[in-house]
């Protein structure tokens, strides 16, 4: 179990794992997020992560999308909603979201870097 005590999300087409990492916390997405309303799984997960990392003073969360084949626009909304939460926290509680992408998956190359424009300094893409 990770330090945030967050269980993995295991659905038919998507699995999301939360683990501790040397820098903080990592989230790994495997499969496809193409359901009609991904907010059902993404919103509670990102809420728990956001609240947990602030409570524990974690300064970096890596979001590993390398094994995510497809993310629909409703799923992008979910990720954007999480990132936008960082615009509301004070400087002491800020953390960085490091997005790890797969250069062989076209949508990741085109869409994920745009997330850096949402909240200046909150997101890095590597």
């Amino acid at each position: 179990m990770n330090r945030l005590k967050i269980e993995p999300v295991v659905e038919e087409r998507i699995k999301i794992y939360v683990d501790d990492s040397p820098q903080g916390v990592s989230i790994r997405f495997v499969g496809d997020i193409d359901m009609e309303d991904p907010s059902i799984i993404l919103d509670p997960l990102f809420d728990k992560i956001h609240e947990g990392v602030i409570k524990l003073g974690v300064k970096e969360v890596s979001a590993d999308f390398k094994e995510l084949n497809f993310l629909n626009s409703s799923g992008i909304k979910g990720v954007a909603k999480w990132i936008m939460k960082l615009s509301e926290v004070d400087d002491d509680n800020k953390y960085v979201i490091k997005i790890i992408h797969n250069k062989d998956i076209t949508w990741q190359v085109t869409s994920l870097p745009t997330l850096t424009f949402l909240v200046p300094g909150a997101v890095q893409v590597e």
Binding site: F70, N72, S73, I76
Partner: protein
């Protein structure tokens, strides 16, 4: 609404289905496989399959009636690809669609996409209204919309 299907040299696929969410992933894979044998550029094929998938999601969410229709044309001479999705929609859905289309058409594609993302993140009604902005930005294509007698045709030309 009349749909241009083919000339003698172009390739095309056409799918009609009762709007069911679970068919969208199948349609996306099918279109991707069709494009893999029709065009050499895999990146372009991926972008087109994404666009088709987003357009179908919109159609399934907002269609009234049971007939959603997608057509993908490949024009070998110009290397242009056209994706069009046609469905019936209610007055309310059409109004919302026109609003989004008008808004994203007024900005450059990156600004429109980021701005729609910010707006989507703040919405509490469960909608994202992000699909068209995403398609326009990620494909770099020419997005058009036509409405006649509550039949909506959204079309993207990717050069």
């Amino acid at each position: 609404m009349a749909v241009d299907k083919k000339s003698s040299k172009e390739g095309y696929i056409e799918l009609r289905f009762g709007p069911r969410w679970k068919y969208i992933a199948c349609a996306r894979s099918f279109i991707q496989n069709f494009l893999a044998i029709s065009i050499a550029d895999q990146t372009r094929a991926d972008k087109i399959a994404m666009a088709a998938s987003e357009l179908l999601e919109n159609a399934v969410k907002y269609a009234s009636g049971d007939d959603t229709h997608i057509l993908v044309n490949v024009y070998p001479e110009t290397e242009k690809i056209r994706v069009q999705v046609i469905n019936k929609a209610s007055d309310e859905s059409i109004k919302a669609l026109k609003q989004v289309y008008g808004k994203i058409s007024d900005e450059n594609s990156l600004d429109a996409y980021v701005s729609q993302m910010k707006e989507a993140a703040l919405r509490s009604d469960g909608k994202s209204q992000l699909g068209l902005a995403r398609i326009r930005y990620e494909t770099g294509g020419d997005l058009q919309m036509e409405i006649k007698d509550n039949v909506v045709r959204v079309m993207i030309d990717i050069g």
